[in-house]
């Protein structure tokens, strides 16, 4: 399956993309998607604990199973206000 990954702020800079598509095996989870991205970007490996990940606009746990066409947002710790 193919999902879309959108990265924000510090993660966008570290990853070098704001949006990309990612091909994953069927039944892959949110954590599998993170691992696939982190495999190519060592600078973010330590940041999973501080990163919230949203699937189609709702924050989800790492064990959440993905479906073809899902959009993942990688959200660093908040800095608004």
């Amino acid at each position: 399956m193919r999902v879309s990954v959108v990265a924000f702020a510090r993660l966008r800079e570290l990853l070098g993309f704001s949006q990309r598509s990612l091909v994953l095996p069927e039944a892959a989870s949110v954590d599998d998607a993170w691992s696939a991205i982190a495999a190519e970007a060592p600078a973010i490996r330590e940041l999973r604990g501080s990163t919230r990940i949203a699937c189609n606009g709702a924050v989800v746990d790492g064990v959440r199973r993905l479906r073809d066409g899902d959009e993942l947002s990688l959200l660093p710790p908040a800095g608004g206000g």
């Binding site: 510090r10 966008r12 949203a54 947002s73 959200l75 710790p77 908040a78 800095g79 608004g80 206000g81």
Partner: protein, 145 residues
């Protein structure tokens, strides 16, 4: 104008207050977050740049407003946050809250800005006069604006 918004346009606090002002609510409190000339560590700031997951941020503002009404009684709330490049003195965020009385209005406004800083998917990059820049995260439970 929507009550909840993330916008690259300059914020007009009076226009945002007008969204919540009505005959049912006798106490109105507005919080405005302004870009300061000095960072918390004393460095001279040149400006801020805000980035947001706008759709999720607006949904979070709506959720915060619902929670405020559950906690503090019927409140009318508007929350607007800037994105893009802001200079010193510009308004980054406006939270306008109207309640029946002042106590609930102060409490709900404080709750809303604290919740926004903790939860809303908005990020701030601080640029300094010395040419450097850093992404700044909010410390949980902190009361700095």
């Amino acid at each position: 104008m929507n009550r909840y918004a993330v916008s690259a346009q300059a914020l007009d606090a009076a226009a945002i207050e007008a969204l919540v002002r009505d005959d049912a609510h006798g106490g109105m409190v507005t919080f405005a977050g302004i870009v300061r000339a000095r960072a918390d560590d004393g460095r001279a700031v040149r400006g801020l740049s805000y980035e947001a997951q706008a759709e999720m941020a607006v949904a979070e503002f709506e959720a915060i407003a619902r929670e405020a009404s559950e906690r503090f009684g019927d409140c009318s709330i508007a929350i607007h946050h800037r994105t893009g490049d802001l200079a010193i003195g510009e308004t980054a965020v406006v939270v306008a809250v109207a309640c029946a009385h002042r106590g609930a209005a102060f409490d709900a406004c404080r709750f809303a800005i604290d919740a926004l800083k903790e939860r809303a998917p908005i990020w701030k990059r601080e640029s300094y006069v010395d040419g450097t820049a850093e992404w700044r995260e909010n410390a949980c439970g902190e009361s700095h604006a």
